[in-house]
C-alpha cells in the first residue's frame, strides 16, 4: 500500500534551508527599498473637478484612431491598475495600438463627498468628462471603456446619453448581480445598508480591502506571501510584487450615498437587468443601448463571475454585440503577460472596425 506523501527528509531539509536563505536575502533586498512607482505613462491633465481628474495619455506616435477612448474606472481601488508598470500597462499598450486614450481618475473621496449620489457620478461628473473629451475633439460621440463598477456606470451612462457614446466596451463588468457564484453579492443581501452607511458615513478603503481579502482568505492572506519568499532574492520580481501590494492597499474610501445606492440597487435588488433602475429620476433601460458593444470578461474572475458579465448580451438592445472571454482573473486581465498580448489588440481591432 502506498501513502500519498513521499517527501524525502533530506530534500525537505534542503527546502527549509532554501526558504531560510531566501528570507535572509529578502531582508537585505527589502531594506531601503523605495515604494515602487507605477508606469506613469506620460500624460496631461485636461480637466479637474472636486477630487476628479481627467488625464490624456501621450503615446510615442500620433493616434491613428479618429475617435478618442475614455476609460471609466471603478470607484473602488485606484485607476493605476490600467497603467501599473511599463511592461504591464493596458494604457500604454492601447496607445501603441493607435488609440487616443483618456482616463478618469476619481480621486480619494473624503467627508465633503459623503453625499455624492450615483446621479452625481454618472449624470454629473462622468457626463462633464465626456463633454470635455467631445469638446477637445469636436465630436458628438466618443468611445467609452468601462471597467468593473465603471463598466456598470458606463452602461447606465450610455443608456441615458445615447448620443454621446459611439462604441462601448465593458471589461469585467457585473450586469447580473444575482448569479449563484457571486460571493460579494451573497454577503450583501442581508446587509442593512441604510444602517451601515448611516453608521460609517463614507466607507473606509480598509474595510473594502478586508472584504475582498476574505473572498479567498487562504490564498490572499497567506499563500501569496509564502510565494513571495520565492522572489525575495530577485529585486525586480520583488519590486513588481510590492507595486501590486501598493495598488491593492492604496485605495480610496467610498462616498457613502453612492455606496448605499449601488449596494441596494445593483447588488441587492439587481435592478440593472430588471429594467427598474433609476439614476437621477430617469430609468436605465439596457434595451435602449443600440451602439456597438464589446464585452470582455475574465473566466477565472472571483470578484465578478463570468456569468455576471455574460448576462449583458441578453439585455442590451444592440445588434452589434461582441463577447470576449479572457483566460485569467479580475486583475490578470490588465497585468498578465497574456493580457498584454490579447486584450489591447482585441480592443483596438474591434474599435478600428467601427471607427
Amino acid at each position: 500500500m502506498y501513502t500519498p506523501l513521499r517527501i524525502d527528509p533530506t530534500k525537505a531539509m534542503g527546502d527549509i534551508a532554501s526558504f531560510q536563505r531566501k528570507l535572509a536575502a529578502g531582508m537585505t533586498n527589502l531594506r531601503g527599498m523605495q515604494e515602487p512607482e507605477y508606469a506613469n505613462t506620460p500624460r496631461e491633465l485636461v480637466y479637474s473637478e472636486d477630487k476628479l481628474n481627467v488625464w490624456h495619455f501621450k503615446g510615442e506616435g500620433k493616434p491613428t484612431s479618429k475617435t478618442p477612448l475614455l476609460i471609466v474606472y471603478a470607484l473602488v481601488n485606484t485607476v493605476w491598475m490600467t497603467d501599473l508598470q511599463a511592461d504591464r500597462s493596458m494604457v500604454r499598450n492601447l496607445l501603441e495600438q493607435g488609440e487616443d486614450v483618456y482616463l478618469i481618475d476619481w480621486g480619494y473621496p473624503d467627508g465633503a463627498d459623503r453625499w455624492l449620489t450615483l446621479d452625481d457620478y454618472i449624470n454629473g461628473y462622468l457626463d462633464r468628462c465626456v463633454d470635455v473629451v467631445r469638446e477637445r475633439h469636436g465630436l458628438d460621440a466618443i468611445n467609452m471603456l468601462g471597467i468593473c463598477q465603471g463598466g456598470a456606470f458606463s452602461l447606465c451612462y450610455t443608456a441615458l446619453h445615447r448620443d454621446k457614446v459611439r462604441n462601448l466596451i465593458t471589461m469585467v463588468t457585473p450586469v447580473d448581480f444575482h448569479t449563484p457564484d457571486n460571493m460579494l453579492s451573497h454577503w450583501c443581501r442581508n446587509l442593512n445598508v441604510d444602517q451601515f452607511v448611516d453608521a460609517m458615513g463614507n466607507i473606509p478603503a480598509g474595510l473594502m480591502n478586508y472584504v475582498y481579502l476574505t473572498l479567498k482568505p487562504m490564498r490572499l492572506n497567506q499563500q501569496k506571501y509564502i510565494g513571495m519568499v520565492d522572489i525575495l532574492d530577485n529585486p525586480t520580481e520583488l519590486e513588481n510584487f510590492l507595486r501590486m501590494e501598493r495598488w491593492i492597499f492604496d485605495s480610496p474610501d467610498q462616498a457613502g450615498e453612492a455606496f448605499r445606492q449601488f449596494i441596494k440597487d445593483f447588488y441587492q435588488d439587481n435592478k440593472l437587468i430588471k429594467g427598474t433602475l433609476e439614476i437621477g429620476g430617469k430609468r436605465v433601460d439596457l434595451g435602449m443601448l443600440t451602439q456597438p458593444v464589446l464585452n470582455i470578461f475574465a473566466e477565472q474572475d472571483h470578484l465578478v463571475p463570468p456569468d455576471a458579465s455574460r448576462a449583458l448580451g441578453r439585455h442590451v438592445g444592440t445588434t452589434d454585440y461582441t463577447q470576449l472571454a479572457f483566460k485569467g482573473g479580475h486583475i490578470g486581465i490588465y497585468v498578465s503577460g497574456r493580457a498584454q498580448r490579447e486584450v489591447p489588440p482585441a480592443i483596438h481591432q474591434w474599435l478600428s472596425a467601427r471607427d
Binding site: T3, L45, K58, G107, E135, D198, G206, N221
Partner: protein, 367 residues
C-alpha cells in the same frame, strides 16, 4: 531512509541550524517592527493604535513563521515509515491550533471580530473613566433584560441599556460567525484527506513540502467557498455586520452627546451641512443648464429670423440649411451649458501649467 532522517533531525547541525533560523526570524521581526503605516481596522478605526500599527506585517510575519515551523514539522514527520498511518500523520501536521491554516483563519478571517472586540474594550475603558458615559457596568447587567428607567438620568440609563444589549447581540453574532469559520476549517481537512487519497499511487505521490501545502490551500479554499456561499453564512454574516453597525451607531450617539455638552460640532451636524451643500450644488448645476439652454434657444431663434429675412433659396438649399442649424445648437449647448463656464475655466487653468507630459504623479499627495 527513516533512520537516516531521524539521525539527521537529532544531529547537532539541525540544532545549530534551528538556532540560526531563530536568529533570522528575530532579525525579520525587528525589521518588520520598524515604524509602519497604521493598519486599517476593517470595521472600526481603533481608538488606540500604538501597537496595532504593525498588525498586517506582524500577521504576515506570523504566517511565514507558522509556515516555516510547519515545514520543519513535515520534514520531521516525513520519517514515518512507508505504509504508516498517513491520515494520522496529516492530523498532526494540520490539526494543531498553531498551524498555518488555523493562523490564517484565526488571524485574518476573524479580524473583523477582533477589531470589534478591541473597540468594545476601548469603549468600556472610556466608559469607566469618563462620567459622561454613565454607569456602563450597571448597563451591562441590564443586557440580561431591559429594566425600566426613570428619574433625571432616565435617558442616559436607557442608552446604556441599549448599548449593552447591542454589544451582547454583536458578540453573539460574531461567535456564530466564528463557528462557521471553524466548520470551514474542519471541512478543509476532510477535503485535503480526499485529495490526498487520490495521490496514493506510484507516480502521483506528493514529493515536496510546497506541493503538500498548495494542495492544502486548495482544499481549504474550496471548503471555505462552500460555506461562504451557503444561506446560513449569508444570514450570519449579515447579522454580524448589522449588529456591529448598531453598536457603532450607539457609540456615535453617545459621543455626540458629550460633544454637544462641550460645544464641539458633531459629525451629524457637519454631515447635515454637507448634505445641504450637495443639494445646493445640484440645484445650481440645474439652473446653469437651464440658463445655457435658454441662451442657445435664443441664439437659434435669432439665426432662424436672420435666415428668413434673406432671399428665398432653392428647395435643396433649405434642406441643407435646416440640417446645419439642427446640428449647431447642440454643439453650442455642449460648449456653454454642459461643460459650463466654471469648468472650462478650471480646465484651462489646470491644464496650462501641466502642458508638459506628467512623468511622476503621486495621487495620494495631491489629496
Amino acid at each position: 531512509m527513516a533512520d537516516q532522517a531521524s539521525d539527521f533531525i537529532k544531529d547537532d547541525f539541525i540544532r545549530n541550524y534551528q538556532a540560526l533560523a531563530q536568529q533570522s526570524w528575530d532579525a525579520w521581526a525587528r525589521q518588520m517592527q520598524q515604524p509602519q503605516q497604521p493598519a486599517q481596522n476593517p470595521f472600526f478605526t481603533p481608538a488606540t493604535t500604538a501597537t496595532a500599527g504593525n498588525e498586517t506585517l506582524e500577521r504576515t510575519l506570523a504566517g511565514l513563521k507558522g509556515y516555516f515551523d510547519w515545514m520543519q514539522g513535515v520534514a520531521a514527520g516525513s520519517s514515518t515509515p512507508p505504509g504508516g498511518d498517513w491520515q494520522q500523520q496529516l492530523q498532526q501536521l494540520f490539526g494543531g491550533a498553531g498551524q498555518p491554516f488555523a493562523q490564517a483563519f484565526g488571524g485574518i478571517d476573524s479580524t473583523g471580530a477582533e477589531g470589534f472586540a478591541r473597540q468594545w474594550q476601548t469603549w468600556m475603558q472610556a466608559a469607566q473613566q469618563h462620567p459622561g458615559f454613565g454607569d456602563l457596568a450597571g448597563a451591562q447587567g441590564a443586557a440580561s433584560g431591559p429594566t425600566p428607567a426613570f428619574g433625571q438620568n432616565r435617558e442616559q440609563q436607557m442608552q446604556q441599556q441599549d448599548m449593552a444589549a447591542a454589544i451582547l447581540a454583536s458578540m453573539q453574532a460574531s461567535a456564530r460567525y466564528q463557528t462557521l469559520i471553524q466548520r470551514a476549517n474542519s471541512h478543509g481537512m476532510e477535503r485535503l484527506q480526499d485529495k490526498l487519497a487520490q495521490h496514493a499511487e506510484p507516480g502521483r505521490q506528493i514529493e515536496s513540502i510546497k506541493g503538500l501545502y498548495d494542495l492544502w490551500i486548495d482544499a481549504a479554499e474550496e471548503a471555505y467557498a462552500e460555506i461562504a456561499l451557503s444561506n446560513e453564512f449569508r444570514e450570519v454574516y449579515g447579522d454580524m455586520v448589522n449588529t456591529q453597525m448598531r453598536v457603532r451607531q450607539l457609540q456615535l450617539k453617545q459621543t455626540e452627546k458629550i460633544c454637544q455638552e462641550l460645544g464641539v460640532p458633531t459629525r451629524s451636524e457637519v454631515s447635515s451641512l454637507g448634505e445641504r451643500l450637495q443639494a445646493m450644488r445640484r440645484e445650481l448645476a440645474a439652473l446653469k443648464h437651464q440658463l445655457a439652454a435658454s441662451q442657445s434657444s435664443a441664439a437659434t431663434a435669432g439665426k432662424t429670423s436672420a435666415a428668413k429675412a434673406t432671399a428665398k433659396p432653392p428647395a435643396s438649399a433649405v434642406k441643407k440649411s435646416v440640417a446645419t442649424v439642427a446640428m449647431s445648437p447642440r454643439k453650442v449647448a455642449v460648449r456653454k451649458s454642459t461643460v459650463g463656464k466654471a469648468n472650462v475655466k478650471s480646465s484651462a487653468a489646470v491644464s496650462k501649467p501641466r502642458s508638459k507630459p506628467v512623468t511622476h504623479v503621486s495621487p495620494r499627495k495631491r489629496k
